[in-house]
Amino acid sequence: MPHSLPATPARDEQLFQHIVRLERVDMTFGRVQALSQVDFEVGRNEIVGLIGDNGAGKSTLIKIISGVLRPTAGTVWVRDQRVDPSSYSVRRAHDLRIETVHQTQSLGEKQPLWRNLFVGRQIVGRFGFIDVKKEKEIANQLLRKAIGFRGQGITAESTVRDLSGGERQGIAIARAMHFQADLIVLDEPTTALAVNEVRKVLSFIEGAKSGGRACIYIEHNLAHVHEVADRLVILDRGKVVRDVKKGELSLAELTSQMIALHEGHGDGHA
């Protein structure tokens, strides 16, 4: 997989309607039904905000889209073409230009930062050897420009284990920024980020839209989602309970809705 943007066919024939679509997707872990009968789609150039309580199933949902998990039932379309579950994988998702920033740890703790940025999509020379010099170069650029860290400890060489919470998160996002994709999936990307980095992320998302790309944005900070999303999908206990265009719902309404949702069910469930 080359690291820079190739003119993949996918990119040229913009004929598809949905970059990704899920139909009646179930996901059960042992006795836990994390997702049940979920229908979910993302338009070609749409920013979808995915919100819901803790444990609602958001991360599970996007893990299916990014090829980390395989749904126990239901079907997945990418660019209106059905994907074969058995062959779908993270790597495949990358090839289909779907890029994800996960909520769970996604960096190798003992590995240097530059390896973490390029693992899976290494820059290799003619004989298939990793071009370490180049990778480090780009890594350093990303650090200073894309994220603009000012922390003491952080260089392309530094080990992830030694980084601060925000720095880690920053790396994960920088990775997604670098490998620009047609669909960018962000699972609580602003977590642990300071004011300025948060602004950077938000503008990155908007940039993606103007760049004709799509984005799934998971966020508990309703103000943030409401600001950038075109459409909001509310997930509750593994079910899609609401799917509204941005205009249809004010931030205030959204907030009270979310709270109501919570109170509504109370502690009924054990």
Partner: protein, 342 residues
């Protein structure tokens, strides 16, 4: 302070420097105590000749351990492939075919290990222990327990190419060192190696960043199998003799070499250079101690002491642990304790 720090740091960036220093110190000590032995080239030639298979095995195991896996079955590969080779030479005078089949046998064993670990999901330590028994047993059955003496194979081209002598220098040393250098590249400069490091670091993360953990693990086991077979070939040819318990003695020695070299038991970090140094320490230590005149029942105890000295020395060179934070940090940094797994 700041400069001293950064100097240490810069030195430490040279892979395996501390353990190599320990190795040199050890040689120096031996030279002092037993000059008549350690100032003659012969002993080193003997170390090179007999150390080659160990080095090949240790280098291969380093990759697996980097991926957080282990292979306990290589001693049986050394036996099995050795038999295949010896059989082909002894019964059919077909050395080249023997070489080929021996390597294939190794690959086969490795592949089975890979399937058991990466597909079926059996922890490698128990899976490969089982296959060690399995293939060791099968070797005895196949060879009917017989040893083959391959007295005059030193006429053969294979022999000359693989274990011949250039002047006093045993050719297998070149093979072993060459292979190790290549494996260093594989580990540090190839996708495969980077993937192994990430798998060893945290398999879930590896999956998330798009590494095909199963495929890479399987490949690593196959590679180990082939290397085990090659080590066996070197051993059998050099000995001009196959005996079906061969390899059994290597289990602990190879592991010791890798871990003395500073590769982490928990995967995610590995030092090929360290493994080379570790291997030579292992090959030398007992011979060296005997040469220094230690005798009888004392030898083993002294070997133990030297091991400890080596590892402790290693740590001290890496960073004089001053104050608990410092120590903690160092240990964290250089993977000398659990902390590293987190």
């Amino acid at each position: 302070m700041a400069t001293r720090e950064s100097l240490t740091a810069r030195l430490l960036r040279i892979e395996g420097l501390p353990i190599s220093t320990v190795l040199l110190l050890l040689v120096a000590v031996f030279m002092l105590v037993a000059p008549e032995v350690f100032l003659s080239y012969r002993i080193y030639m003997s170390f090179l000749a007999n150390g080659a298979p160990l080095l090949v095995l240790a280098a291969g195991l380093t990759l697996l351990i980097a991926a957080g896996e282990i292979d306990l079955s290589f001693p049986s590969v050394v036996a099995l492939s050795g038999w295949v080779l010896a059989y082909c030479i002894h019964q059919h005078e077909a050395p080249w075919l023997g070489l080929l089949l021996a390597l294939l046998a190794g690959a086969l064993v490795g592949f089975l290990n890979g399937v058991l670990v990466a597909r079926v999901g059996i922890p490698s330590i128990i899976a490969t222990l089982a296959t060690q028994f399995l293939w060791g047993g099968i070797t005895t059955v196949l060879s009917e327990g017989l040893s083959y003496s391959l007295s005059d194979i030193d006429e053969l081209l294979v022999w000359k190419l693989l274990v011949g002598r250039i002047g006093p220098l045993p050719v297998q040393a070149l093979w072993a060192v060459g292979l190790t250098a290549w494996l260093w590249l594989v580990l540090n400069r190839r996708r495969f190696g980077e993937h192994l490091l990430f798998i060893g670091d945290n398999a879930k993360v590896a999956e998330i960043v798009g590494v095909n953990t199963r495929r890479e693990k399987t490949r690593a086991f196959v590679l180990m199998g082939v290397l085990g077979a090659f080590a066996s070939v070197l051993l059998t040819l050099e000995n001009q003799n196959f005996f079906n318990t061969q390899g059994a003695g290597y289990l602990l020695e190879v592991m010791a070499a890798v871990f003395i070299g500073g590769t982490s038991v928990f995967g995610g970090k590995a030092s090929m250079v360290g493994t080379v140094a570790g291997s030579f320490i292992i090959v030398m230590v007992e011979a060296g101690i005997v040469a220094t005149g230690v005798q009888g029942f004392w030898v083993r105890a002294v070997v133990g002491v030297v091991f400890l000295a080596a590892v402790v020395g290693h740590m001290l060179i890496e960073g004089p642990g001053k104050g608990i934070t410092r120590v903690r940090l160092l240990r964290g940094k250089f993977g000398l304790n659990q902390g590293e797994r987190s």
